[in-house]
């Protein structure tokens, strides 16, 4: 696991975001074991308290779960996973829209460009 952190957002928020991306893209599968907070801190070179905070947030949001003393795992709850996916898609679209809107491009032209680009990248 490797994450490039920016310096101005809380590190725990960035860790949670990374997990969401991995869940949405299927890199983390439902029920998959995740590293302990200490292992995560070592892998990502972050403070163990921050790793702990990220896990606490994810536990509360239902993204991960812990049974007894066994390692924490990625949620199997499909609804939660769908929500994460939707959240990330919406966020990406919002970012795109707020970047493109000031340029005053007709929406049809934008959609056309998106279609073209989307398939370009798939082939490439």
């Amino acid at each position: 696991m490797k994450v490039t952190f920016n310096k101005r957002d809380p590190v725990y928020v960035q860790v949670v975001r990374h997990f969401k991306e991995q869940i949405a893209t299927g890199h983390f599968e439902p029920g998959q074991e995740i590293p302990s907070r200490r292992e995560l801190a070592t892998q990502l070179k972050i403070n163990p308290n921050t790793a702990q905070r990220a896990y606490k947030e994810m536990e509360e949001a239902g993204l991960i779960y812990t049974e007894g003393n066994s390692p924490s795992k990625i949620t199997k709850n499909e609804k939660v996973i769908d929500n994460v996916r939707e959240e990330l898609i919406l966020e990406a679209v919002n970012n795109f829209v707020s970047a493109i809107r000031p340029i005053h491009v007709p929406i049809d032209e934008v959609v056309g460009l998106i279609k073209e680009k989307y398939h370009d990248d798939e082939e490439g």
Binding site: K7, R8, V13, T42, N47, P48
Partner: protein, 229 residues
């Protein structure tokens, strides 16, 4: 918790500490930052009871400094204090004989962690490896608080990375760490709290995650604000 309260000290007529206050929690990494002469090393010496002070007080877990304090804290200076003709193994043996709090198992683990060999002579080590041995000697003690003076200064990037990794590992566990540095880049994401010092005063004390969360600022942003006013 280490509590430094309104600490003042003079060297002759010069006021070197002008009422320093901050706290350092167990299980957290607190970073004292400031240019040379800001008072970082003097504060560490005061916490170790190695230097007297004019006024103020220092509490370790609520107790005033006393002759048992050193059983709870260790100070890792910025240069190794072992004789250069000793081997690493001999330095470890010296520590074992001298300190009841020496943890042999952790010492061996640290040797492996830093990829150091016991038969190597201290005089033959690179700067980076000398710094690692120096750190190892302090980290292997079973104490609750570790004070480290400039553990990253003057060594190569790979040694710095390896040393930074020790902070996230179980080798530091849930101990309290106070570290001084003037180079924040290596450890920006590792520390819990920063204490910005200048000219014997605390200019700002803050939690790094809180400053990112509430103000959207990096540690360096805050340093710029505080030091370049």
């Amino acid at each position: 918790m280490i509590e430094v309260k309104d600490l003042a000290k003079n060297f002759g007529r010069k006021k070197v500490l002008k009422g320093i206050s901050f706290t350092a929690e167990k299980g957290e990494i607190t970073c004292l930052m400031g240019i040379n002469g800001a008072g970082k090393t003097t504060i560490m010496n005061a916490i170790m009871n190695l230097t007297s002070f004019k006024s103020g007080e220092i509490l370790i877990d609520g107790e005033k400094l006393n002759k048992h304090s050193y059983e709870k804290i260790t100070f890792i200076p910025d240069a190794i204090t072992m004789l250069p003709q000793m081997t690493i193994g001999e330095a470890l043996q010296f520590m074992k004989d001298f300190y009841t709090s020496w943890n042999e198992i952790r010492a061996k683990e640290l040797l492996e962690f830093f990829r150091l060999k016991e038969n190597e002579k201290i005089s033959s080590l690179s700067k980076g490896n000398t710094a690692k041995v120096n750190l190892l000697l302090g980290l292997a003690l079973d104490v609750d608080y570790l004070l480290m003076d400039e553990p990253f200064s003057g060594i190569d990037i790979f040694s710095r990375e390896q040393i930074a990794n020790v902070f996230t590992s179980h080798l530091v566990e849930d101990r309290g760490v106070i570290i001084t540095t003037h180079e924040i880049n290596d450890i920006e994401h590792l520390i819990d709290k920063a204490v910005l010092l200048d000219d014997g005063m605390v200019l700002r004390e803050f939690s790094t995650e809180e400053v990112r969360e509430n103000e959207g600022k990096s540690v360096v942003d805050v340093m710029r604000e505080v030091y370049q006013r």
